[in-house]
Amino acid sequence: MRSPARRTSWALALSATLFLTACGGGDEGGEGKSSDDPIVVGISLPLTGDFSEPGKGVQEGYEAWAKITNDKGGLLGGRKIELKILDDQSNADRVVADYEQLIGSDQVDLVVGPFSTRLVVPSARVAQEYGMLFVEPAGAAAEVFNQGFKNLFYAAPAVADDHYNHLAEYLLALPADKKPKTVAYAAMDDPFAQGTAYGLKKKLEAGGVKTVVNEVYPPNTTDFGSIAAKIAAAKPDMVVGGSQYQDGVNLIVALQQLNYQPKLAAFSTAPTSPEFAKAIGNKTEGILSPTGYSQDAPYPSNKEFVEKFTAQFGKAPEEDQANGYTTGQVVAAAVEAAGCAEQGECQQKLIDWLHGNKVETVVGPLSWDATGKPQGAHMIQQWVGNDIKIVLPADAKEAELIYPKPAW
């Protein structure tokens, strides 16, 4: 009997301490700011659970943004950025409670988004109720933009359907005798992966390019022999994979085992992973992939980001880190332009400014439509030799797109 009682008293003591700390935090965030007060940015992230890997990546991006900005003297003439990060355990109920707490009781000055559509939608709703600006790093599915949010901005170049826009433009502009005539699509049954492939499919079909195979496979598929056989038998000029990682790699290898040589091969996600070349060696030749972020992209702030991020974390940033950082850049641009960062009327000024302006970021210039959907497209990279290079759009390219692609 003694031990449970003792445990209870410990729990009481602990919660009392937490309560006091929370109140203390609340006081600091209250009214009457001087120019030295930090700007507190509230964030809930999936640091444990399903999305913990990307969640931690985004966290590093936010931390890099706060550090780099503070090292340069902060925002609004000297106010430092202070991040207040909570763990939502990848849980949609938890994320709502987190933002309620951040905005309502902690009185943070700004909020930015968590990772992935499943968490972005409920948390954007909370931010909307409080009239807060909500810039988010990772809610790219269509359902984010058809909820009628007026305060949401997706801080990346494009939603899934628009990833291949540059490639579609390039292919449709080719002379008729060079244009690919037939295409095979294989996409994972997943809104993001399918979105990328079907976005391209829609545009190519509208341009008169025929679809000869259209396969959808469940996420747990591990054997791609039969899908590859179907594609190889149809002998299309081009193959497009709406893939995540293992499915893309397995499908590429299965196609190669069947000796199928397309003129063009485009796969989402997998080819941009650092693990890709380690997995299939020199069999990467000519594979295309859309990417939202490249360490080599020539945008002005990117060089600084890669350098300082590498110094801070001992590794180069990937897409998740870049998305977090971009979110910070977007918010900072709005804060500097509107000249304020606090709850209340200021938030509407920030929202209005972002609706009307373009922001320079590490992923290029971003602007948004009324639903918060970014207006850009992803860069297209191609494996050339043993390296992946940006080939589209023309203003960011490091190499010419090779078409028809060399044999793999």
Binding site: E53, D189, E215, V216, Y217, P218, N220, T221, T222, D223, G225, S226, I227, A229, K230, A232, A233, Y245, Q246, V249, N250, V253, Q256, Q257, L258, N259, E275, K278, A279, I280, G281, K283
Partner: protein, 295 residues
């Protein structure tokens, strides 16, 4: 109507896939035969062996097949220890049910440790001959798939000979058929069961290596495998290695061929349709497996 070439290619792919399924399922049916143990962790051990093969190749630079020199004895030993230390201590009355729980826990432990040791990054062995293939009457046969099939054939044949021709095999089969009777004629059933369990886990070492040759692996991959493998051993008749092999070939072929008209999503359901059909029509399994009649 699919072309003849596609049909032939799919049959080749289906048979190769079925052979791999047979190897992966062999251990599972042995455990059940010997001990009435439902071994949820079998596919986790497969992935563990696959990771060891990948590690051998990427760290030591030698062919992943050579990792079996270490993993097969290692897994055999682990199997014996697992059976003697954990599973044989379960109460016979609740053995089947409790074995599900305990091996589920083991599967979670292996998955967690793999994630801890090798991170969640998805890996693939980069082989010089990974995409090599040759022509067989117009169809392509991938070398790695053929090696996996070869490994399956050799190990299943060896297993069959071991069961039929050696004294240990007789003892093991006697233990499977009737434990009390086996004990009456002087067989040390406890010891035999331990070795039998080790044998099952040794097949997992070979199966995992075969799997690693042509698959991208990650710690939670085993959950995708355990369902189809369980379906195979039920259709084959629980406890029958030959039955499991026949069921594996048939289901692999069916999956591959059904994919042409139905697509990948529906083709996968063939395992579960076969499972339900077996349980409804012929619960003792379609191939051999008199054993399951008693349950």
């Amino acid at each position: 109507m699919p072309s003849g070439a596609l049909l032939f290619q799919s049959i080749i792919l289906g048979l190769l896939l079925g052979g791999l399924y047979a190897l992966l399922a062999a251990g599972l049916t042995l455990y059940f035969g010997i001990m009435r143990v439902v071994m949820i962790a079998h596919s986790a051990f497969l992935i563990l062996a696959a990771y060891l093969a990948w590690w051998t190749h990427s760290r030591l630079g030698i062919d992943p097949l050579l990792s079996m020199v270490v993993t097969v004895p290692l897994f055999f030993g682990a199997g014996v220890l697992l059976q003697r230390g954990l599973l044989s201590r379960l109460r016979p009355a609740t053995l089947t049910m409790m074995s599900v729980l305990i091996t589920f826990a083991i599967a979670l432990c292996i998955e967690g440790l793999l994630g801890y040791a090798f991170s969640g990054t998805q890996r693939r062995i980069q082989l010089g001959y990974g995409t090599a293939s040759f022509d067989l009457f117009g169809a392509r046969v991938a070398v790695v798939k053929l090696i996996a099939f070869g490994l399956a054939t050799v190990s299943l044949a060896a297993l069959y000979l071991l069961m039929k021709r050696t004294q240990f095999g007789w003892a093991l089969r006697a233990t499977i058929q009737h434990r009390d009777a086996a004990r009456l004629v002087g067989i040390d059933t406890e010891r035999t069961a331990g070795f039998g369990f080790g044998l099952g886990l040794a097949t997992a070492a070979i199966g995992g290596t075969a799997l690693a040759l042509d698959t991208t692996i990650y710690p939670s991959l085993h959950w995708h495998w355990i369902g189809p493998l369980m379906a195979i051993i039920v259709v084959g008749g629980l406890g029958s290695v030959a039955g499991a092999a026949a069921a594996a070939l048939l289901l692999g072929l069916a999956q591959s061929l059904l994919q042409i008209p139905m697509g990948a999503t529906w083709a996968q359901t063939v395992f579960y349709v076969a499972l339900f059909a077996t349980l409804a029509v012929r619960p003792q399994g379609f191939f051999g497996g008199r054993l399951a009649q008693r349950f």
